[in-house]
Structures are given as structure tokens and as C-alpha cells.
């Protein structure tokens, strides 16, 4: 047991001085994270401006969404981890009900049931699950001693599998993967034994053929086949992969210059302002720009893991780590897909791609991270 020192006035003063009193104590925001996110958002606006061919109007609607996201972040930051922990099961249960409601009564959008129409407002409950699931798994892990045993691991797997399956049924494979990864990330941090991890990986490999035959839609199979051989259908599904790789490769070391990307401006890159926006950046700013972007992402993820490291209880640690890892998976899956390392799943590049309710959830997630960091009690350990 560590010795506990109640915060002395000098420690308090030092902490205030170090982190900026109003931001941290008043708004419960983390200055470092905020600065990094602002830079990333700025980069996003610059790239989007080019992807939209110099049009300003779409950027305004993008900014509106970012604004809502920032508001969500500030609100989320006001919830102390203790309150979040208390709320977790209720939030999880509520979102689960919404997911079921979507399957039963959802709006058909793009051939899949994802949207719930609330009369004044349509939204995707699967987005909320990206936060609700890590909260729930962290809550569960906080009710046992770590590293967790087999029983709790099994329970957590069920808690993860149900919403992931519901989202997969919509069908929205991309979000299902993300939500599953969010839960699995928390589980991993909770010290689930390597034996169970390897068993899980083996099981997943064994289940893959079954998923192929029974679990996937034709268009999803087509995407995987096209990933393995983009030349299969050069005018159809393979087109996206081929064209985005040409865009990236032709960027070279320093790129073709802002607004100068021929691939982007001749409309060769598909969905150039949403899922494939990275190709625009890589074409116009080259390897140099890509490394800058990666550095930004690494810094944000690093800050997130650092916050998790310094959190003061299991729930906070696991939740902070889980949200950070989800963010990483989000970015990695998109980058891997655009650069041809992973099959095409419909996921935007976090905080760069245009639109979507993803901006709001992502920023709300960072709000939670900030809350965890700024609600720490001051003592020395």
C-alpha cells in the first residue's frame, strides 16, 4: 500500500501552472490532446478543400459537424470517471436496445439498415456503441481482480459479440469490426491471458471460412476477392484500389503540391473526400506529408496511452486505453485499405474524412479521455 499524501497547496499550484488552470480545472480539457486534435483537424480541412476541388460550401457543413463534435467533447469531459462508471451498464443496455430497434424499424440507407429516424434527427446507434462497448467492458473488468480469469473473459466476449453481431447484420462490416476491436482492446489491456488470446486467434481463423460462406454478402465477398486481385474487375470494384494506389505512388517524396493532384482532380480517386481522402493527401504532399500525418496520429495515440498509464483506477485506465486503441484501429484499417494492405471496408479516416456522425463520436471519446485525465486526484505515489 502506498503512502497517501493529501495534496498540499504547493503541489496544487505546480499542477495548475503546468497544465493551464482554466482549461484543465475549469473545462476539464487536456491542452496537449486539444492542440494535437486541432492540428489534425486543420490538416483535414486543407486536404478536404483540395478533395472538393476548391469548393468551400462542403467545408462549411463539415465545420458544423466538427462544431457539434467539439460540443460533445466538452460535455463528455464534464462527466467524472466515477459517474461514467456508474452510467456504463445503462448506456450499454440503452444502445443495445437502439441497435435492435434499428434492425426492426431502421431506415434503409444504401441497402443496409443503419439509421434510426427520430423524427427531427436521424442517427446511427452503431456509432454510440463505439463508446458504450469499451465503457461496458471496462466496467465489467473493474468488478474483478486483474489479470482477469477465464469466466470474466467469457462474459466480456459475450458482451462484445452481441452488439458486434447486431451491427454486422445491418450489414455494416466496418463498424462491426471497429466495435469488436474496441471491446477486444479493453479485454487485452485487462490482462486476458495469452493462452486465451491465441485460442481466440485460432478460433477466428477457423471461423473465417464459415463467415465467408454464411456470414458475408455477395458484395463483401467481391471486395475480398478484388483485394486479392484488383485486376479482376478493372472497371468495377478493383478500380478503387488500383486508382488510389496510383494516386499514392505518384505522389513521390514531396507530392505534386496542394490542389495539384491529377488523380484527385480528374476524379480518378473514388470517394476522394470520404473513405479515400488519404490518397489525396499522399498524392499532393508525398511521403513527407504522410509521415507528418502518421506522426500526428502517433502523438495522439501516445498521449491517449499516456493518459491511460496515469489513470488512477482500473475502470479509467481500461476505458482510456480502450478508446485510444479504437482510434488507432480506426485509422489503421482505413490507411491499410487505401494503401492496398487490407480489403475495402467502408471506414472513413478519423478526423480527416468528410462528414459522418463519426466525427461526433470520435471527439466525444476524446472528451472522455480528457475527463479521465483532468479528474485525477492530486497525490503523490
Amino acid at each position: 500500500m502506498n503512502a497517501v499524501n493529501w495534496p498540499s497547496s504547493s503541489v496544487n499550484a505546480a499542477a495548475r501552472k503546468a497544465t493551464g488552470g482554466l482549461l484543465q480545472r475549469g473545462l476539464h480539457l487536456d491542452g496537449v490532446l486539444l492542440a494535437l486534435l486541432t492540428i489534425l483537424g486543420g490538416v483535414g480541412m486543407i486536404v478536404l478543400y483540395s478533395a472538393f476541388g476548391g469548393r468551400v460550401e462542403p467545408l462549411q457543413s463539415h465545420l458544423t459537424r466538427v462544431g457539434i463534435g467539439v460540443a460533445a467533447m466538452i460535455v463528455a469531459a464534464q462527466f467524472s470517471p466515477t459517474r461514467l462508471e456508474r452510467l456504463s451498464p445503462w448506456v450499454y443496455g440503452g444502445v443495445l436496445l437502439l441497435l435492435i430497434a434499428v434492425l426492426v424499424a431502421g431506415q434503409i440507407g444504401g441497402g443496409a439498415r443503419r439509421w434510426l429516424d427520430l423524427g427531427f434527427f436521424e442517427f446511427q446507434p452503431s456509432e454510440l456503441m463505439k463508446l458504450a462497448l469499451p465503457m461496458m467492458v471496462a466496467w465489467l473488468m473493474a468488478r474483478t481482480t486483474l489479470p482477469i480469469g477465464f469466466g470474466f473473459a467469457a462474459l466480456a466476449l459475450a458482451v462484445i459479440a452481441v452488439p458486434a453481431a447486431l451491427i454486422g447484420l445491418q450489414p455494416d462490416l466496418g463498424t462491426a469490426v471497429l466495435v469488436g476491436a474496441a471491446g477486444a482492446g479493453v479485454l487485452f489491456l485487462a490482462g486476458v491471458r495469452w493462452r486465451i488470446i491465441s485460442a481466440g486467434v485460432l478460433l477466428a481463423c477457423a471461423a473465417a471460412p464459415l463467415l465467408w460462406v454464411f456470414g458475408m454478402q455477395d458484395y463483401q465477398r467481391e471486395r475480398v476477392l478484388t483485394f486479392l486481385d484488383p485486376g479482376r474487375d478493372p472497371l468495377g470494384a478493383g478500380y478503387n484500389i488500383i486508382q488510389s494506389q496510383i494516386a499514392i505512388g505518384s505522389g513521390g517524396l514531396f507530392g505534386k503540391g496542394w490542389l495539384e493532384g491529377t488523380q484527385a482532380h480528374l476524379n480518378f480517386i473514388p470517394e476522394q473526400h470520404t473513405d479515400f481522402v488519404f490518397a489525396v493527401l499522399a498524392e499532393e504532399f508525398g511521403l513527407f506529408g504522410v509521415i507528418m500525418l502518421f506522426a500526428l496520429y502517433l502523438a495522439i495515440i501516445g498521449r491517449g496511452l499516456w493518459i491511460a498509464h496515469h489513470a488512477q483506477d482500473n475502470f479509467s485506465r481500461l476505458l482510456a486505453g480502450g478508446i485510444t486503441l479504437t482510434f488507432f484501429v480506426y485509422a489503421f484499417v482505413n490507411l491499410g485499405m487505401v494503401s492496398g494492405l487490407l480489403p475495402v471496408v467502408g471506414l472513413p479516416l478519423p478526423l480527416i474524412s468528410y462528414g459522418g456522425s463519426s466525427v461526433v463520436t470520435l471527439l466525444a471519446g476524446f472528451g472522455i479521455l480528457m475527463s479521465i485525465h483532468t479528474h485525477r486526484r492530486m497525490w503523490s505515489s
Binding site: G191, I246, L305
Partner: protein, 617 residues
């Protein structure tokens, strides 16, 4: 707080912190891998991708292959491709699409379907693609558009090949037609093959052999300017044209068969009994496939598809009719072969038939009866009483068994889409379909091809061919593949203990046409070869047992169907056919003369080719 601290044990904290460190390492490694991949693309492969990006001013465009032609057996073109013009639009070059379409509509006619298909294609297309709006422009429309060209930016009139059927209505049911591909059709096929075309075979041969006729798509590499406008074609992977198909059909015989049917509704199927090659497959009324290719508006198409005479309906393979007395030669042969009767046994016919303990009376078509009739008489005169008695002796099981061996109740397996099976009833069939047991009276009706029995004209022709072949079945087919063997039949060869039964059956059918009392003796006059045939007159509605069938008082739709099946020359058959005339009255008066016209025409042709030297002409 104290509780929190107790729970936050050092050990637990260490577990999570270790895992966090591992996660950080993983993140770093994966990002390093990603950087490696990007560096590979941007540094190592830079030259390659840079060149391709330059080339990317080059756009890939699909090139539609030429659709294969369709010929008849003599090389007459049944389906060809004619130069035509179609109208396409590049949406990116249009400011206000609705206004443009409205302006266009003053110059060309646009159907709702065409607008819909255009909007659908527009949503799915990538930038700067020409999207077809109207597939066939009339000469006036082309002229008008050329004059007004400046008024329609983004609109192009493109030369194209349009499907044309030179014979129009003749053979339309067989050849089929092509039309705009539907979403449902696209889903069940390989979409890659349909990127450059909006047409697909809808019915008939055009649909059956779509995969052969279509060909393989080619690619064109088109150089574009910085705005994406096409400048010129740099490279071309030529498309593989579709295969030309030759049919067994004789379009002249087809024309004669359709003309023979005239204004009646009905079908004639004629085939070479030796190999199943279909010579004519007529279904009346018909339709003009060229109208359908050009694209009818919805109202005109509805009028066609909902016409009570059903011109789009291929009666030859989808119409199911009671075969009536056409079944008699088959049943007579079966009765002898199964030992229920001998060729010489005479059954007395006084015009009525009764079953023990059954109140009902069955009547012959000839009220006064035929007197004593044997095998040959029964077929030649089409005596119903003989077959009532034979049916009673055989029972439904034996009848079902023997008739099935001739192909009754099963599809004949022709290479055309949509063939339907007839019905050869049995106890099991009735239980499954109606949930009722079999009654004796139904056996009696089945003996004259009435009751539940149904057959398509095609299947009747195929079964008749099997009689002509003395037990060897054939599969009907339309595709002629030179040098290849005919496709095998589904049915086994029928071997009889007494092979002379085939000859007897043929003789009985010759008597139908050439005998003194044959029901079709009217068509036997002036023939220099022999026809073996059988008339049939099938009731459309049940006539009460004490009522008279009176054509005058009945509505036309309730008149009997007229049928005739035949093969000729009887001793060396070269044609087998079935004629069905809906509400045609009687087989001998309506159907048999049509059969004679078709058979005569075919014999004439064989004679001219020197294949039938024995004909006296």
C-alpha cells in the same frame, strides 16, 4: 477514496501498464509497417505509379462486342445487327439536367422507362461517362438533333448497332428479342460482361443462348484532357464478337405453319423425327419483336402483354391442352403390349358405355356407335367406347406408366426458356395436387385424353416422333451444331416384346388419313405419299351427359380445341408434328388440313432437294 486505493492494487496497475506498453509497441510497429508500405509505393514504385498517373489521362472504357447473328437451317438471317443511332448524355457537361431533358423531349419522344433507366445508370456511373438515354433514334430525330446540336451541350448522337429481325412476326416466339437489361437480370449475371451494353436477350433463342451470342467485352484506352474530356483513342483491346448461331428451324416452313394457323389461336410444332431437330414452332397470334427492341412505352407494352389473345405467350411450349383422342394410338399400343387386349379383339360399340355399379353413362362422339371395332378400326375411327373399355381394363396405374414412357406429363427438354410440363395423372399426382383419392370414372376419361390429362403441343410432337421412330425417343432442339451429334433424349428407348406392334400402330394411323372411314380421310385425297395421323377434339367445358354439344349456341371460347398429330412419309418419316387450334372445333376439320399444308410444303422441299426420290412429282 480509501476503497478506491485498496482496489487499485499495485499488481493490478502493473498488469494494465504492461499491456499498455505492449499495445504502444504494437501501434508503433504497425505504423512503421504502414510507413514502409507507403514508402514502397512512393519511393520504390514511384516511377511506375508516376507513369501510370500520367497515363491516367487515359481512361478505360468498355467496348461492346457485336452480338452474334442467328440463321435458320438454310442460312437465312433471322436476327441481325443494323446501324442505328442512340442518344447519350455526359452529365458533367450539363448544368441543369431536368431542363435539358424537358428541352430534349420537344425533339424526341422519351418514355418514363427511358428516363428511369437513365437516372439509374447516372447514379452508378463515374465521372465523364456517356450515359445512354434513348437506344434507338428515328431518322427524323437524328436529323432534328443534328440541326439543333448547339442547343444541347453534353448530348451526343452515337452510331450503334441495333438488333433487327428481318422476318418480323414470323418465328418471333422462337427467336425471341433483346431489350434493355433490368436490375434483376443484372444481379443474376456477371456484371462485368454488361458494363458496355444495356441490352440482353429477353426471350427465345436470344435468351437461351445469351452467353454465346453476347461475346466478350473489350476495353478502349481513351486519352482525356485535364478536364476529363475524351480526346482520342490510344489503345484498344478488341471485344470478342458473339458467336453466330444456326438453328434447325426452316423459316419458310415456319412462315407456312403460321399462315396455316391464320387468325386462329394455336400452335404447330414440326420436327425431324430422326434427330429431334425442330423445323417449325409456330404460335399464334404473334408479335413484332422489332417494336420491342426499339422499346415500347409502358402503355403499349401493357396492351401487348395484357391482350386477351396473349400474343406474347408461346403456346407451342407453354400452352397446356387436353390431348383428347391424340392419345389413342399410344394407349392402343400400350394395351396390347401390356396384354390387356389383342390386336384382333373386337369390342362392340353401340355409342354408350357404362360401368358396373356406376350411374353415369359415357358416350361416343358418334351417337349411333361404330359397331364391332378392332385395334385398327378404333384408331382410324377414333372410337371412344373401345378406349373406355381399354382404360377400364388397364387401370390408371398401367396407363400412367405407359404414357409416361412416351414422355406424357414431363417437359420435352427443348433448348428454349419457359417450357412447361403437361400432366399425366396418377393416384399419387391426384393425392398430392387435390388431396383426393382416384375414382374409376376418371380412369375412363383418361382413356380418351380428357379429364386431368394435359400436354403441350411440343410434347405431343415429340411423343409422335417416338411413334414414328418405333420406340426411339429424341430430344427436341433448335440449335444446329454442324458435325455434332444431336443431344440425347431423357427417355429410355422403348423395347417391345413384339416389335410388329409399331407397324400395327403406324398402320392404324395411316387408316386415319387414308382409310375409308378414317376421321381425317378428307386430307388424304391427292396425296402421293402416306401420312400417319391422329385427330383429336378436346372438350373445353364439360357437356352434361344428356346434353348435345351444339357449336352454334356456345360462346367461341367454349368451342372444342382441335388437334392433330402426324408423321410422314409413314414408312420413312421425315417430319413429325402436332397441331393444336384453340376453340378450333374439330380436329378433322380444322387441325388436320393445317397439318397437311405443313407436311406438303416439307415434302415438296425434300423432293426438290432430291431426298425423296420415290415421290412421283
Amino acid at each position: 477514496m480509501a476503497l478506491d486505493l485498496i482496489r487499485d492494487k499495485t499488481g493490478e496497475r502493473r498488469v494494465v501498464r504492461t499491456r499498455l506498453a505492449i499495445a504502444a509497441l504494437l501501434v508503433f510497429i504497425l505504423f512503421a509497417g504502414l510507413t514502409g508500405r507507403i514508402a514502397y509505393l512512393q519511393v520504390a514504385q514511384y516511377e511506375h505509379y508516376s507513369a501510370r498517373s500520367q497515363d491516367n489521362r487515359v481512361r478505360l472504357a468498355p467496348v461492346t462486342p457485336t452480338r452474334g447473328l442467328i440463321f435458320d437451317r438454310n442460312g437465312q438471317i433471322l436476327a441481325e445487327n443494323r446501324p442505328a443511332f442512340r442518344l447519350t448524355i455526359v452529365p458533367e457537361q450539363v448544368d441543369d439536367m431536368t431542363a435539358l431533358l424537358d428541352r430534349l423531349e420537344r425533339v424526341i419522344s422519351l418514355t418514363e422507362d427511358e428516363r428511369e433507366a437513365f437516372n439509374r445508370a447516372r447514379r452508378q456511373a463515374r465521372g465523364f461517362q456517356e450515359i445512354p438515354l434513348k437506344l434507338r433514334l428515328s431518322d427524323e430525330e437524328v436529323a432534328q438533333l443534328t440541326v439543333d446540336r448547339h442547343r444541347f451541350p453534353g448530348v451526343e448522337v452515337r452510331p450503334d448497332l441495333a438488333r433487327h429481325y428481318p422476318f418480323g412476326e414470323i418465328g418471333a416466339h422462337v427467336i425471341g428479342y433483346v431489350g434493355r437489361i433490368s436490375q434483376a437480370e443484372l444481379r443474376e449475371r456477371d456484371p462485368r460482361q454488361y458494363r458496355g451494353t444495356s441490352l440482353i436477350g429477353k426471350t427465345g433463342i436470344e435468351r437461351q443462348y445469351e452467353h454465346l451470342l453476347r461475346g466478350e467485352m473489350g476495353l478502349e484506352h481513351i486519352e482525356t484532357n485535364a478536364l476529363g474530356r475524351p480526346l482520342n483513342v490510344l489503345d484498344r483491346e478488341p471485344p470478342t464478337p458473339g458467336a453466330d448461331l444456326q438453328l434447325t428451324l426452316d423459316i419458310e416452313l415456319q412462315r407456312i405453319a403460321e399462315a396455316a394457323l391464320g387468325d386462329y389461336r394455336g400452335a404447330i410444332v414440326a420436327m425431324d423425327p430422326r434427330d429431334g431437330a425442330v423445323l417449325a414452332l409456330a404460335s399464334r397470334p404473334g408479335f413484332d419483336p422489332n417494336q420491342l427492341v426499339a422499346g415500347l412505352d409502358r402503355a403499349a407494352f401493357d396492351a401487348l402483354s395484357q391482350d386477351p389473345k396473349q400474343p406474347l405467350f408461346n403456346r407451342a411450349l407453354r400452352g397446356r391442352y387436353p390431348p383428347g383422342s391424340v392419345v389413342k394410338p399410344f394407349l392402343a399400343l400400350a394395351g396390347v403390349a401390356s396384354g390387356h387386349i389383342t390386336p384382333d379383339e373386337r369390342i362392340f360399340c353401340n355409342g354408350t358405355y357404362e360401368l358396373p355399379n356406376v350411374e353415369r353413362v359415357w358416350r361416343d362422339w358418334k351417337p349411333e356407335g361404330h359397331g364391332h371395332v378392332d385395334f385398327i378400326d378404333s384408331v382410324a375411327e377414333s372410337c371412344d367406347i373401345y378406349f373406355y373399355e381399354l382404360a377400364y381394363r388397364m387401370g390408371i396405374d398401367a396407363m400412367h406408366d405407359w404414357m409416361s414412357r412416351f414422355g406424357f406429363g414431363a417437359p420435352a427438354g427443348i433448348d428454349l426458356p419457359g417450357e412447361r410440363a403437361g400432366v399425366m395423372p396418377s393416384r399419387e399426382w391426384k393425392r398430392a395436387q387435390l388431396g383426393e383419392p382416384w375414382y374409376h370414372g376418371e380412369t375412363i376419361n383418361t382413356g380418351i385424353g380428357q379429364g386431368f390429362t394435359l400436354a403441350t403441343p411440343l410434347q405431343m410432337a415429340v411423343s409422335t416422333a417416338m411413334l414414328a421412330n418405333r420406340g426411339r425417343p429424341v430430344r427436341p432442339h433448335l440449335l444446329a451444331v454442324p458435325g455434332a451429334e444431336s443431344p440425347p433424349a431423357d427417355l429410355p428407348i422403348m423395347n417391345l416384346d413384339d416389335e410388329s406392334l409399331w407397324q400395327l400402330t403406324t398402320e392404324s394411323m395411316i387408316e386415319v388419313v387414308h382409310g375409308q372411314r378414317g376421321t381425317a380421310r378428307a386430307i388424304g385425297e391427292g396425296l402421293d405419299y402416306q401420312i400417319a395421323g391422329k385427330t383429336g377434339t378436346a372438350q373445353v367445358i364439360g357437356i352434361g351427359q344428356d346434353e348435345e354439344y351444339d357449336e352454334e349456341t356456345l360462346d367461341e371460347r367454349f368451342h372444342d380445341h382441335a388437334l392433330f398429330s402426324a408423321f410422314a412419309p409413314a414408312e420413312d418419316p421425315r417430319i413429325a408434328l402436332a397441331v393444336v387450334v384453340e376453340n378450333g372445333g374439330s380436329g378433322s376439320q380444322t387441325a388436320a388440313p393445317m397439318a397437311r399444308i405443313v407436311i406438303d410444303a416439307w415434302m415438296e422441299q425434300l423432293h426438290e432437294r432430291g431426298e425423296l426420290a420415290f415421290l412421283k412429282r
